[in-house]
């Protein structure tokens, strides 16, 4: 009962946030000089052509009217038609989003598989050589921009070693993409690099914090062997906050994809967004931002729910 109201309340909050996001993005795009007509029709277009384009797209009406029209269409599932790609935005997103999800999910999974054991090892061997080396490596990864790290990967493993292709899978469907796993390796690694640093630091500090808790001492005093203390108590208690953080990382994940997709020419939502931004393709931009906003809000909602499943104390305070 209480958890139903909790979910309900959070959903209402989520919808409100998404609404405001669309308002803000719409206003920002509207304030940009030039407008989409110039971008789409090219520099040679006449004033008459531009006016005709604006009239046909409803762009000559006041901003409030345009926004209300946009919102009404959005609610009925119509996100408009792309200016440049001449296809409904919904259709574009339906094709591109799953591919981006594949890339981000794989990158996050790879990052977790590497970062959690690494962070744990660093905590258990705190201030020893392993910890120092891992700290330096992860900080370097964290400080390296994604496009730069991606280029290094391409040069090293595609140009010099020729192990993996430098271009991501170009397939239309998720199935096509997954059919070329070797082409996914470099994009996934590029996406995972920064996350490894974030996740391993997080795991390390959460584990250290838990290791200094009194209940670890209690477990020692009852004769629990150290490895079992790590497994039975510390690991689980340290991962709880990490799961929550994962949900909050969704905007970061999308931000990373933007660069990775552009770099490896991966036909996902990031590349769509990139190209739309270059050509002032309003409907596509707003559609992408909407999706990212929903994903962000849902991510934090899921994070909270996951935390309440794992941590009984969170469950009881609602």
């Amino acid at each position: 009962m209480t958890s139903f109201w909790f979910v309900f309340r959070r959903l209402v909050q989520a919808v409100t946030v998404i609404f405001f996001v669309t308002v803000v993005v719409f206003l920002l795009l509207d304030a940009l000089p030039g407008g989409p007509a110039r971008g789409i029709l090219g520099p040679d277009a006449t004033e008459q052509q531009i006016a005709a384009f604006n009239a046909s797209q409803g762009l000559d009406q006041p901003a409030v009217v345009r926004y209300v029209l946009y919102l009404g269409r959005t609610l009925s599932g119509d996100l408009g038609v792309s200016y440049g790609l001449n296809a409904p935005v919904t259709e574009l997103l339906a094709e591109r989003l799953p591919k981006t999800l594949v890339l981000t999910t794989l990158a996050a999974l790879v990052a977790l598989v590497i970062a959690v054991p690494l962070g744990l090892l660093q905590a258990v061997r705190q201030n020893r050589l392993v910890d120092y080396i891992a700290t330096v490596v992860t900080f370097v990864l964290y400080a390296t921009p994604v496009f730069f790290f991606g280029l290094i990967l391409i040069i090293a493993f595609s140009q010099a070693a020729r192990w993996f292709p430098s271009q991501a899978p170009q397939g239309q469907t998720v199935g096509d993409v997954l059919a070329e796993p070797q082409a996914l390796v470099l994009p996934v690694l590029a996406g995972a690099a920064g996350l490894i640093a974030v996740f391993s630091r997080y795991t390390r500090s959460a584990t250290l914090e838990n290791l200094s808790e009194d209940y670890v001492r209690t477990a020692l005093a009852t004769g629990t062997p150290y490895p079992r203390i790590i497994r039975q108590h510390v690991l689980r208690n340290s991962l709880t906050p990490l799961i929550a953080m994962l949900g909050y990382q969704i905007p970061v994940l999308f931000g990373g994809t933007l660069v990775v997709e552009q770099l490896f020419n991966y036909p996902g939502m990031g590349l769509l967004f990139w190209n739309a931004a270059q050509s002032s393709d309003y409907p596509v931009l707003l559609g992408c931002v909407l999706i990212i906003a929903i994903a962000t809000v849902l991510g934090s909602l899921l994070a909270d729910l996951a935390q309440s499943v794992i941590d009984p104390r969170v469950r009881s305070t609602r």
Binding site: E213, D214, Y215, R217, T218, A219, L220, A221, T222, G223, T224, P225, Q232, H233, R236, N237, T240, I310, D311, P312, R313, S316
Partner: protein, 549 residues
């Protein structure tokens, strides 16, 4: 007594901690022997090294500690290399900790935690371990053990959590139980129950117990023998009755003299209140709610009391009774949901922010934790002068005022430029008191001002407070859980239970011949540092409890 090995034999134990400022000797040549079935208390003030002995005996000292000497369990020295086997912790020796709130894994059901402890030493199936866990929970007196086994620690009360910690400790029938301040974090009625439990377990199992405590009442209640520690050494060791009734060491005498004792008989003497004077503080039907809707909790329910000029009113209760909430209401930190708060005759609910602030300048505050309530970035002088900066122009010569106050709380002028961190706990609390008095308040609100202090320090802080009250004439709202302290310092007392005034009246009558059953129970639960008296009190209490059931 047979001539077999003692359960625990500590010989010439010394422990040194390597710190940034050089080695610190925490324990120096301590020798102590405990026979099976015997309870030996290690008593002392903070920094005496008593807990260090306990942790050394469990081999749970931190990495920067070096222990020398011998700690023998049944003839085997655990300080010698290779002697600490997997069977040692949990099976040979087990430990009960001070803080039950943090001693358990918050994300694991208590039954699972006890079952895991069972499986540490017994090759039984999960189902069998779970069954044993329920039995253990029943044995330590947890009601509905099958149901409670599925609870998480936060769903249990403090006393129940400590029972679970004890269940963990006895899960594998250890020969020696080391209890480090096992009742310090608990309310006095819960403390009595936990002490009863420990006594019963020792009688049933013939465990040897090393009981570390600062509470002489706990020693008198439970221990067969007692060792008094100071500066890492044992200064006196003997049978509990001998040490507590006829102490030989000067330090033991001082320590016992400082322990506030509950007066059990009427001392007489006038209760010189001034019933005609207008109260400085008056709460009328004050209610405070925490939370909203169905889950709201009444922290205070229709609480009324008056405090008259120059008087000290004690507010007593166990944790969750609302006593600190009452102090916060008086301070204006909480606006009550219902009722009126009158401070110096003015209705606080009707005053504007500015008028309230001016009135609050007539208040002084002393809080429980002197470490947390003094800003570490200020010097002692700045801390004391701070209220004069907030309420500008109330004092003509701030510098002179600070020196006067320092003198009044009996601190040397040399501490003025130091950081509060460089002072001892008692000195810090005196700085807090000086700061409370800076603006010459008409009312001082003290929330557990001596609870974080050692008894000898507590005695001196209470003496300073009383002396200042005579000189300055302020009224005092004194919140405490300690009935003996209230008896020493307060003239009237209000006893709170779950946010309701259970009983109120002059200290002399209320705390000696109470009308309410709860007050009686509270008084009965306070252990007396006199072992003979305490045995009598315990029997009386148990017969009353038995009669109630």
């Amino acid at each position: 007594m047979t001539s077999t090995n003692p359960a625990l034999d500590i010989v010439d134990l010394s422990v040194t901690f390597a710190t940034e400022t050089g080695p610190v000797d925490a324990v120096r040549e301590v020798s102590l022997r405990i026979e099976p079935g015997e309870i030996v208390a290690l008593v002392g003030e903070s920094g005496s090294g008593k807990s260090t002995v306990a942790f050394a005996a469990m081999r749970l000292l931190s990495g920067n500690a070096t222990a020398t000497g011998r700690i023998e369990y049944d003839g085997i020295d655990i300080l010698a290399p290779g002697t600490v086997t997997r069977d040692f912790r949990g099976r040979t020796a087990a430990m009960v900790f001070q803080e039950p709130a943090t001693a358990l894994n918050p994300l694991m059901r208590v039954g699972d935690q006890v079952a895991a402890a069972v499986r540490n030493h017994q090759p039984v199936s999960r189902a069998e371990a779970a069954r044993q866990a329920v039995q253990l929970l029943a044995r330590v007196g947890i009601p509905e053990p099958e149901k409670r086994a599925r609870s998480f620690p936060f769903q249990l009360s403090g006393g129940q959590r400590q029972r679970v910690v004890i269940a963990l400790a006895i899960a594998n029938s250890p020969k020696v139980l080391i209890a480090d301040e096992p009742t310090t974090a608990l309310d006095v009625t819960v403390q009595a129950e936990i002490l009863d439990l420990l006594r019963r377990l020792v009688a049933e199992t013939a465990m040897a117990v090393l009981l570390v405590t600062h509470n002489m009442g706990v020693v008198a209640d439970l221990a067969d023998r007692v060792a008094v520690m100071r500066h890492g050494r044992i200064v006196e060791l003997g049978a509990t009755a001998d040490v507590l009734l006829a102490p030989e060491a000067e330090y033991t005498r001082q320590l016992l003299a400082a322990v506030p004792r509950l007066q059990l008989e009427h001392r007489g003497g006038p209760d010189a209140a001034r019933p005609d004077a207008e109260p400085v503080l008056s709460l009328t039907d004050v209610s405070v709610l925490y939370g909203r809707g169905a889950s709201a909790v009444h922290a205070l329910k229709s609480v009324s009391f008056d405090l008259r000029p120059g008087e000290t009113l004690g507010v007593v209760g166990e944790s969750g009774s609302g006593k600190s909430t009452a102090a916060r209401v008086a301070l204006g930190l909480i606006t009550p949901a219902a009722g009126t708060v009158r401070l110096f005759g003015q209705d606080m609910g009707r005053l504007g922010t500015r008028a309230r602030r001016r009135i609050q300048g007539e208040l002084g505050v002393v809080l429980q934790d002197p470490v947390a309530s003094l800003d570490p970035r200020l010097t002692v002088g700045e801390c004391i002068a701070e209220p004069m900066r907030v309420h500008r122009g109330k004092v003509d010569d701030p510098g002179r005022r600070v020196r006067e106050l320092l003198d009044a709380v009996q601190l040397p002028a040399s501490v003025l430029g130091r950081s509060p961190y460089e002072l001892s706990g008692g000195q810090r609390q005196r700085v807090s008191i000086a700061r409370a008095l800076t603006l010459d308040p008409r009312l001082v609100i003290a929330d557990e001002p001596t609870s974080a202090l050692d008894v000898s320090v507590q005695a001196s802080v209470l003496a300073v407070l009383r002396e200042l009250q005579d000189d300055f004439g302020f009224a005092c709202l004194f919140v405490s859980h300690d009935l003996a302290v209230i008896q020493q310092i307060a003239r009237r007392v209000v006893i709170l239970l779950s946010g309701v005034v259970e009983e109120a009246g002059p200290v002399g009558e209320t705390l000696i011949t109470p009308h309410s059953a709860y007050t009686r129970q509270l008084l009965d639960a306070v252990p007396s540092p006199d072992p003979v008296q305490q045995r009598h009190r315990r029997e009386l209490r148990l017969s009353r409890v038995g009669g109630m059931q």
